[in-house]
Amino acid sequence: MNPDDETVYTLEVIASISGVDLETILHYQQQGLIRPLPESGNRFDDEALRTLRRIEHLRETCGVNETGLRLMLDLLDEVERLRE
């Protein structure tokens, strides 16, 4: 069994896996909260899926609005960088 190239998802697939609807994902994308892979024709990787799950968790469970989301995602990234 040969390992394939890295996993990439279309918008529809990432919506299906995450349970987040297409319009919401596009909105997050427009806001710069998640980014597709460069030169991929709007395809996403596991990192984007992970960010999407984080966003949904912060929004649904913690009730964070979009301004708060941006701040918290930055802070979570900062924490990860410091722990590396």
Partner: protein, 316 residues
């Protein structure tokens, strides 16, 4: 969970006050000796190589080394500080096969979880009573050879359910895609914490850590190699065979090369996704001077000194 303390200084065979350079040299020497590609006993070498890598991952990083030195002093004391990111865990978990020891996993990896049951798609889940399990995150040590060609790695995840107290081990294979870069996360669906009320399990995210290599470092898909050259090779130029991740290449060192100068071999780095493209291979020249000289060599250097008009302190 009890874990065995790892004496990283003993593993690299360096004293506790070793300089960063001593640590780097010790690592390179041991990594060359135990590299799975060159050692005769591959299984033993692989284990040893991972151990050396882990020690260098910590001692080769000033921040991690400082933390390790502090931790080392407190190790035998009861009530040592709890490892980061494991505070209010619903489940205890423990990785196997990631290339890092339990000790490293607990104290130096980014292993963590986030979210609460019901956190994802909360509204819908709360209505149905089905809650998706938490995602779990950890690190996986990937050799540059694995990053070059791709690999399948068996990984096990042991979780203890706090309600039943029973430990369950899941073993599965993780696909390392060719060209995977340092820091990239690989998602393994359904290998996170179990869901509640029939909800689906969370996912496992493993962050790729390139194993330190005795000859190469990486930056994205680009691979770097430090090449030691003699002063006359820098001045006169030379043709030198240089190792890459997929065989040696002949490299022409141009006359008048300088210390630290970089030469690029296009397309001999790591693969880049489905495009079929590859990163570049960069050779960083390091001019070495001989530590000892024979009488004859000394005479020749002295002759060079007397005839040369080169003065590095008056160059523009």
């Amino acid at each position: 969970m009890s874990v065995e303390f790892k004496d990283y200084y003993a593993i690299l065979g360096v004293p506790r006050d070793a300089t960063a350079d001593d640590i780097k040299k010790a690592f390179r020497k041991l990594a060359r000796k135990h590299h799975p590609d060159v050692a005769k006993d591959k299984k033993t070498a692989e284990e040893k190589f991972k151990e050396i890598n882990e020690a260098y991952e910590v001692l080769g990083d000033p921040e991690k080394r400082g933390k390790y030195d502090r931790l080392g002093m407190d190790w035998q004391h009861e009530g040592a500080a709890p490892p980061p990111g494991r505070g209010a865990a619903a489940h205890e978990f423990n990785f196997g096969g990631t290339g890092f020891s339990d000790f490293f996993e607990q104290y130096f990896s980014g292993a963590s979880r986030y979210g609460f049951p019901g956190g994802m798609q909360g509204g819908a889940q709360a209505r149905t009573g089905h809650f998706r399990g938490n995602d779990i995150e950890g690190d996986i040590l990937v050799t540059l050879e694995e990053a070059m060609h791709g690999a399948l790695r068996p990984v096990s995840l042991q979780m203890t359910d706090p309600q039943t107290g029973r430990a369950q081990t899941h073993t599965f294979h993780v696909r390392i895609p060719p060209g995977v870069t340092n820091g990239k996360r690989i998602r393994i669906p359904g290998q996170g914490e179990p869901g509640i009320g029939g909800g689906e399990a969370g996912d496992l995210y493993l962050r790729v850590r390139h194993a330190a290599h005795p000859d190469f470092t990486t930056q994205g898909a680009d691979v770097f190699h430090e090449l030691d050259i003699a002063p006359w090779e820098a001045v006169l130029g030379a043709d030198i065979s240089v190792p890459t991740l997929d065989g040696a290449v002949k490299l022409r060192i141009p006359p008048g090369s300088e210390n630290g100068q970089q030469l690029r071999v296009r397309g001999r780095g790591l693969p880049m996704g489905k495009s079929g493209g590859r990163g570049d291979f960069h050779v960083v020249l390091t001019v070495q001077t001989p530590a000892h000289t024979t009488d004859e060599e000394r005479t020749l250097w002295e002759k060079l000194r007397s005839v040369s008009r080169f003065n590095p302190r008056t160059q523009p």
